[in-house]
Amino acid sequence: MPLKIFIGIWMAGVIAAAFLFAPPAEGFAHPDAARIIFFHVPNAIVASIAFLMSAVYSVRYLKNRSLMDDAKSAVSAELGLVFAILATITGSLFAHIQWNSWWNWDPRETSIVVLLLIYAAYFAIRSAVEETERRAALSAVYAILALPAMAFLMFILPNVMFSLHPADTLTSGSGLSNEYRLVLYPAILGFIALFIWIFRIKTALAEIKFKMRRH
């Protein structure tokens, strides 16, 4: 409980620091708009973590056939989908402000669309199969297959397309300025903590559902 309140205060602090502490980023069309990275980057990172976790729990499910692992894989995928959508929206907003274009099929934009498609496919399998065990096995296999496919895409897309995505161009110098690091890293930690919190609530709910069905 105190830990959760700490997360609450921590994230509020991150939000306040993102607007009040961090300086406007020089070299951008609208220097203040760059503050969105404090929300965009953590969302994208959490989305990737969730995608990996979904695959890891899928492997575990295939190994020991515990339905709890399947539930955890599904929960990771659901949360990953939400965070991926948030990352897409924040990214698109920033692209609109910076380059006056909502969407440009940048490599990162393309890879996140594919990620969303993978999630769509994953949930399509889950809704198409009624039997619990079979649904678990099929979606686990799909989550595992999606991982190398995604890795290849991340590898080839930057070679195919030109990217505008700022990787290390934030603020005037090379790389992030120290003030930005000071806000961004806590923001990433905060979002990861938030992810873990929701993940645990959802797995606890899944566990309760299993117990109720058994009774």
Binding site: L117, A121, I125, A140, L145, A146
Partner: protein
């Protein structure tokens, strides 16, 4: 759990023999019905005619041409390759096959069959495409290598996805949704490599794509082989 027949790690020679036995069975079955071939060829020729009718060939740039070629290959493949395992489930021969051969051999045989289908499809579509779109390829060996490697990648991923689809209920609609994100690296690599073969005489320009397609095929093959038995045996 199903009966584990012939699950002992058989020696490689036996495994290859079984793989080809499954492959032969599928080829013979296909000759009897010609279902997959008809579906693929009709689809390919129809789209090809539609595309070349609307574009007219001459004014399409190399990137458009190579993209169109792979779109035609991909969607024709979708219409035929999905059947690999669905037909076993529909004719209730899946359990017999499960008993007769180890999972690896089944996957290998189906994969070979799908690959053969794709190659046959390309033997017809590619010359037609070249003719109808008045395609000028500067580097034919590269073009052929890219097409072959891309088809191998498509065949591997399509085979494993079709296994998943055969076990799910909504068979028709699911295949396209599931296969697209997984097949995308092969499609992009194929498009890029084909474009390189159209525009440049140098082998080096397309080498990166060929390497990518081969490594994609290899990685997807290994992963598919590892996970295949989890869906096949249930």
């Amino acid at each position: 759990m199903s009966i584990k027949a012939q699950q002992k790690p058989a020696n490689p020679a036996k495994m290859i023999k079984r793989t080809f036995a499954v492959f032969r069975k599928d080829v013979l079955g296909e000759f009897r019905t010609r279902y997959a071939m008809n579906a693929i060829f009709l689809f390919a020729v129809t789209t090809l005619v539609a595309v070349s009718f609307s574009i007219g060939g001459a004014d399409a740039s190399p990137s458009v041409q190579s993209a169109l070629l792979w779109i035609i290959i991909y969607f024709s493949a979708l219409s035929g390759l999905a059947r690999a395992f669905v037909k076993e489930e529909e004719s209730h021969t899946a359990s017999a096959l499960r008993l007769a051969a180890a999972p690896g051999a089944v996957f290998g045989g189906k994969l070979l069959f799908n690959f053969l289908l794709l190659i046959l499809l390309e033997l017809v579509t590619v010359p037609l495409f070249v003719g109808m779109m008045s395609l000028q390829v500067k580097n034919w060996p590269l073009f052929i290598v890219v097409t072959g490697a891309g088809s191998a990648g498509l065949a591997v991923s399509a085979t494993i996805v079709s296994t998943i689809v055969s076990k799910a209920n909504a068979k028709g609609a699911l295949f396209a949704v599931l296969s697209f994100p997984i097949l995308l690296p092969a499609i992009i690599g194929g498009i890029k490599g084909t474009k390189a073969a159209i525009t440049s005489v140098l082998f080096a320009d397309g080498m990166q794509d060929v390497k990518l397609l081969i490594s994609y095929t290899g990685v997807m093959f290994v992963v598919s082989l590892l996970v295949f038995r989890f869906i096949w045996e249930d």
